[in-house]
Amino acid sequence: MDFKPCVNIRKEWDIVGARQLGREKAKEIGFGTVDQARIATAISELARNIYLYAGTGKICFEIVDDFEHKGLQIIAVDEGPGIRDISQVMEDGYTTSGGLGAGLPGVKRLMDHFDIISEVGEGTEIRASKWVR
């Protein structure tokens, strides 16, 4: 485990900031261009969810390097309204904002490991990791 830089998400352009930092980290760790694009896209989705549904929150990065894995973990934390039915938001095509509804299930497919904890009225924390192959 390494340092933990974070990007606060308050306005739409912060999404770009988070994405760029994440891409830089991914490059440093040694991900290929395809995985870099996957990571950047996943960050984009998570950050946009924060911006759209919670208003504010943050995206943190953690470099994972232990016996089993080497990779990058993205942690998206907000104190927004929370998610009532997690299995529903993980379904393809479910959306409350008129979007494509591919965000969270998409992130799960883009990354190798995906964890979501949400409490209605408290907020949401999503951890998504990608391992270097």
Binding site: E12, A37, R38, S44, G99, L100, A102, G106, R109
Partner: protein, 289 residues
Amino acid sequence: MNKRLEEIVVENSDVIIKHWLEQVSEKRKSDYTSAISDELFRSTNREFINLIFSSVDKQGFTTELDDFSERLINLGWPLSYLTDGLQTFRRVTIDFILSQSEKIDSDRFSDVLDMVDKWIDPIINRLVNEYSGSWEHTVSLQRVALQELSAPLIPVMKNITIMPLIGTIDTERAKLIMENLLDGVIKHNSEVVLIDITGVPVVDTMVAHHIIQASEAVRLIGSTCILVGIRPEIAQTIVNLGIDLGKFPTKSSLRKGFETALELTDRKIVHSKEKDQTIENLLDSLDKG
């Protein structure tokens, strides 16, 4: 009594200036202004302190102060140079006044602080406003410049139009893309529009959603939209995200997209043989000769 204090300061300006210059130069060592030549630094310091005094003296702002700050902004001096300088001036002046008075009670002390604050604070506010005004101006100019670059539409051929997209697409830009696209299709009477996303760094669901909507809208007004410039890594992320782009044609490169566009408008690229022919003619004529 304030008048009296002011007189003390103005009369002893030499001493205060000396102290100030010493402190500012001392501070500079660990500083951002190291790229600036000593001579320029000294002359700017002199000018700065003289301006501070003249504005203290005149009890108000002078146009010289505005000129001075404008010049520093243009030269790219940091704002902290000015604020640090004024803070130093505040400290030096207070130290000096207090060292001049024999008895110091708390009333007197707060009087002095008050007085000096009244000199310094308006100048700091003025300078900070001046600087932030210049930043805001720059940012707004850049925003306009960015907007101009946002969603250009190029009519390359009769009935064929290209929209190259470069950089991040946010909500505002997505709106512009849609508007420009529809306006342009009508205006140029295009049958085929190529949207080139080679320069878009990340295609997430939001971007894809906007592109799908735009192409759907283009379809409604009777034209065809072809998405081109999909890089391999973008193609993979789109598949991973589970975005369905099956409804409209996509191509890997602008060239291929353009060829398809020509086909759709019943045209094709024909290689002219003119060049070869002239060479052949030349060879023929040589043979004859």
